[in-house]
Symmetry: C2
Subunit: 316 residues, 2 copies
């Protein structure tokens, strides 16, 4: 039996046919054109799904479920997107709109949760009973797997792991609080930290990397400068990893999951990021001799996480 | 069928016979005399259990299981107390020592987790699928109920909710980190905050309450002074509640449990504590209109939590 997974983003709608091992058999995408109304966007999504099924010489009967992952908050029970600020959706009955057309069971889930599902089904958390998946991007997305199931709390809004205050009265966060983990450890925060350090150190190699244009600073810049032996870059990376490790040690103490998976662009730094993180978390968290510690690993599913995770919403 | 629950503390060993509704039919306690070796302490515990059964005119066959709650970390699988600094236990095979004598299945659990089990079985979290139980005492003990089961992570050490850093480089914590929630919101921390405020405000009513002796400051002192209209007491209480609410908002964002239960001596302040906490958490946490928020309630099981929770280890 096959599933369809849809990664409904603000820029593209990506969809794939996924087998029960989590392999993508075929995937395609179309632009979202998000300024359109929900009906038009969902119509395009349905057409994309139909074209995939046709291209693969399948029929609707071969598809067990359609899962749709997108940012925001969803009422899973009733299949309604309560809000999705990326798409401007407010109380849109996405499930019924798709089901009425395709007559296949449809499930909705938050995109960070889809990433967690994907890592659990066939990525870095595969086989683990309990896992925490952190996606470092514009914000910090969290996904929690408990007993191999996605955990979302009594109201579906759980797992907001980026919105854990780690610095009382600290940096302002998009959620309205001050000092959230996300305000220090997101890619957005890393870029802000890199810019500030570059401004304070006009002889840093960062300026060469970005050709003198601060707008070119991204989440890779400080790591790149550090690799070139630049002191400013090294210091930004060290501070970033230090605070990231505080948040990860928090997650270890709270969940003691078998693995903590780190996804998002920053995770591509690989061992440059992971090795010091592991060492710091080991020192900070309440680990006890002989009982084992959570592993800390990079996400494995990359850009496919959204599709694969969405395809498995129904199963998890 | 009946269970025996034992609250094996540093001062007293309390044990009770508990029915399947969580009611204590009979309870007794003896002093622990913790400087003794584990064999002697466990022998006394077994005698206490035997005497309870005899006093209630029961036999060992009427008892389905014996649960033992005590501080520290336990290897549930093998029934070994890995460490318990209160009792000086290190790798003590408690389960086998008790089972060999009484021939009834024996289960071990951390005391904060027992408090959580008790609230879940017949206290403030009864009927809730997911609940977080915070016990405010010397430290902050955490217990997490997910799908009506105790959650402890892959290695049994999860739910260390007091050891979540909320203030980078903040107050030193007993765990070795800086800025843990426990270092701000435990009863120990409240006493420290009250002492400091009293020292800085020599005309505070706190000095009348404690008869001029700072050693008499306890976790109730600031609340008492605040009730008398004392500005220093009011300010201590306000700051305490403010930071406690940050930690609770973190728990809400992470777990979105049906209820967050607050236990320990401080919870006896009732609505003086709970009403402002609810208001602050509502403002801080990521709550979304129309999907419901975790309730915040005082623990209901009081001193019986240890016995009732321990009795139900086997069931949860």
């Amino acid at each position: 039996m096959l599933h369809v997974g849809v990664d409904l983003g603000g820029t593209n709608i990506a969809a794939g046919i996924v087998d029960k091992e989590g392999r993508i058999l075929l995937k395609r995408s179309v632009p979202t054109f998000r300024e359109r109304n929900p009906e038009e966007i969902i119509q395009d999504m349905c057409m994309l799904i139909e074209s995939l099924i046709e291209e693969k010489n399948l029929t609707l009967r071969d598809i067990k479920s359609i899962g749709i992952g997108s940012p925001g908050l969803h009422d899973r029970q009733n299949g309604i997107t309560i809000y999705n600020s990326n798409l401007g959706f407010n109380n849109v009955p996405v499930r019924d709109m798709v089901q009425n057309r395709l007559n296949i069971p449809v499930y909705l889930e938050n995109d960070a949760n889809c990433a967690a599902i994907a890592e659990s089904v066939s990525g870095a958390a595969k086989g683990e009973e309990h896992a925490v998946i952190i996606t470092i991007g514009t914000g910090i997305g969290g996904g929690v797997i408990i007993n191999k199931k996605l955990y979302t709390g009594f109201n579906g809004a759980g797992g907001e792991l980026g919105h854990v205050v780690i610095a009382l009265d600290g940096e302002p966060c998009s959620c309205g609080r001050k000092g959230c983990w996300e305000a220090y450890s997101s890619a957005t925060a890393l870029i802000r930290q890199t810019k500030k350090a570059a401004e304070e150190n006009t002889n840093s190699k960062i300026w060469e990397i970005i050709g003198g244009n601060p707008d070119k600073i991204d989440a890779k810049t400080a790591f790149e400068a550090a690799r070139l032996g630049d002191e400013t870059g090294r210091s930004v990376v060290e501070n970033y990893i230090e605070i990231l490790s505080e948040g990860l040690a928090n997650m270890a103490n709270i969940f003691q999951p078998g693995v903590i998976v780190i996804g998002g662009g920053v995770s591509k730094e690989g061992e440059n990021l992971l090795a010091p993180l592991r060492e710091k978390v080991r020192k900070k968290a309440c680990f006890f001799e002989g009982i084992g510690e959570p592993r800390i690993e990079a996400a494995q599913m990359g850009n496919d996480a959204g599709i694969v995770g969405a395809a498995f919403i129904a199963e998890l």
